[in-house]
Symmetry: C7
Subunit: 99 residues, 7 copies
């Protein structure tokens, strides 16, 4: 996805480059395959402007482009680009950053 900026997520959404299942060992963490709620890892390629609070202000996102993150597998809207899967998810569906 040369030029990740072709897709600008709205609000607190981010665009993720999903990691293939055989790659699901990041920073030494192996994700349990039999977990009730199966998490997945991905790399953030674009970040939205942040969630709009009740008073109209924007809350800066707590993740940034390049972060590898753990997210809930069933979250988000899938798009494809040159045979790679991308996912647009809400920041609240990101469980943790994997350093």
């Amino acid at each position: 996805m040369e030029g990740y900026k072709v897709l600008k997520p709205l609000g607190d959404r981010v665009v993720l480059e999903v990691q293939k299942e055989e790659e699901q060992t990041v920073g030494g963490i192996v994700l349990a395959s039999n977990a009730q709620e199966k998490p997945q890892t991905g790399k953030i390629v674009v970040v939205g402007d942040g969630k709009v609070l009740d008073n109209g202000e924007k809350l800066a996102p707590s993740v940034k482009t390049g972060d590898t993150v753990l997210f809930d597998k069933y979250a988000g809207t899938e798009v494809k680009y040159e045979e790679k899967a991308y996912l647009v998810v809400h920041e609240k569906d990101i469980v943790a950053i994997v350093d």
Copy 2:
């Protein structure tokens, strides 16, 4: 839809010109056909005045006329004009702007 202004969406709604399925490659992005939650692209033709916040102020919309956007296929209210489908959707149902 000569003169898009015949339809003025209320609140945080926008009117979209829905793109036909064979056109669903915008800016290099091909939408996955087997995705759980099927997104669709469309071009914004009219934008409402924005969502009213709890304090009574209006929040300026983050999309504008002419933007091509990715939205959730099952969202919105459909209207037709000269054989073209238009959709009135809430801004929250717009996933991302496709530049």
Copy 3:
């Protein structure tokens, strides 16, 4: 409904004169008959004082008497007057104004 004021809607409600199905072409817009969520057009005959916000203030309605509007068909409370159907709907159920 000579003298529309016989019915004063409360809060953010408005009274609509519903348009018959064969008339459902307003300003060049033809409403899709096979849409999942079937919209309908109507003409506003009376408007309430507006929604009360959390701080107790009233939010002025964004529609006015005489507006032709697109609304969700299943919304509202139906009343009849001299063989014509009227509908009392909440402003949030009005999708767009048709100019």
Copy 4:
């Protein structure tokens, strides 16, 4: 109900004198008998002190004793007095005032 004050509704509730079905023509309005959500008319006999807002203040009711109103038939708590039905309903279930 000589002396309507025997029943003092709490909060945003009001006490209504329900009108018999054969009387359901008020101010020229005939209520549709086949409507999905059947409304009914009634005359307000007592009004509560009003809804308590989040900041603790009371919001003055927008209806008053003597008003004839249109309300949702399935709303409220029924009481009887000398063979007449009374209903205690929340102000939000009152659709419109019939002048």
Copy 5:
């Protein structure tokens, strides 16, 4: 229940002395036996300190010890004392005060 103070309800709860069905004529009001939502009358014996608002302040209860009230029959937590039934209900489940 000599000494009603043995039970101190929390928040916006009150303790009611429930009236037997044959006594359900209070102040001339007879409660409809075939009403969808069967109300019941009771006498308030203890009142809590009131509901805590979002800002942390307490909202004074709008009922007091000795009030005869109309409440929703299915509300509350039942306790017994010397063969009499008492009920602990939230103030929001009290429909009206019967003077």
Copy 6:
């Protein structure tokens, strides 16, 4: 539970020492055995710091260590210590204090 402090409940939670059914007569109150929503009595052994309000402040709990309380039987998380059952419940599930 010598040294009740081994378990520190979070937020508006409290730790209760549950009373056996045959002991369910506290301060003269006998709990109805056929009540729809069966309450139970318990003695508070530890109290949390209180609920966090929307503005970030903590709301002081309205119960204290040593209070005998009436609570909803199906609420809470059960733990055992030396053959006695303890329960961690939210303050909102405590119906009343039994003096």
Copy 7:
């Protein structure tokens, strides 16, 4: 999990080292095996920055690295690292701290 910092939980989430069932006696507390809502104990290895309040401020977490806590067994997202199970849970799913 040498270097617990490989996983940084977002918001009010924490990473827990789950304790095996035979170890479920912490500080003298034995967790009931037949409880409706089965709690489990774990040791906190990483804590997030805290929940974001409605006004945009962060609420400091009430638990810290090293705390042994009681949490709801069905909460959270499971990850594995060198044959040990870790769990990422929201602070609201932590019932109590076991000292």
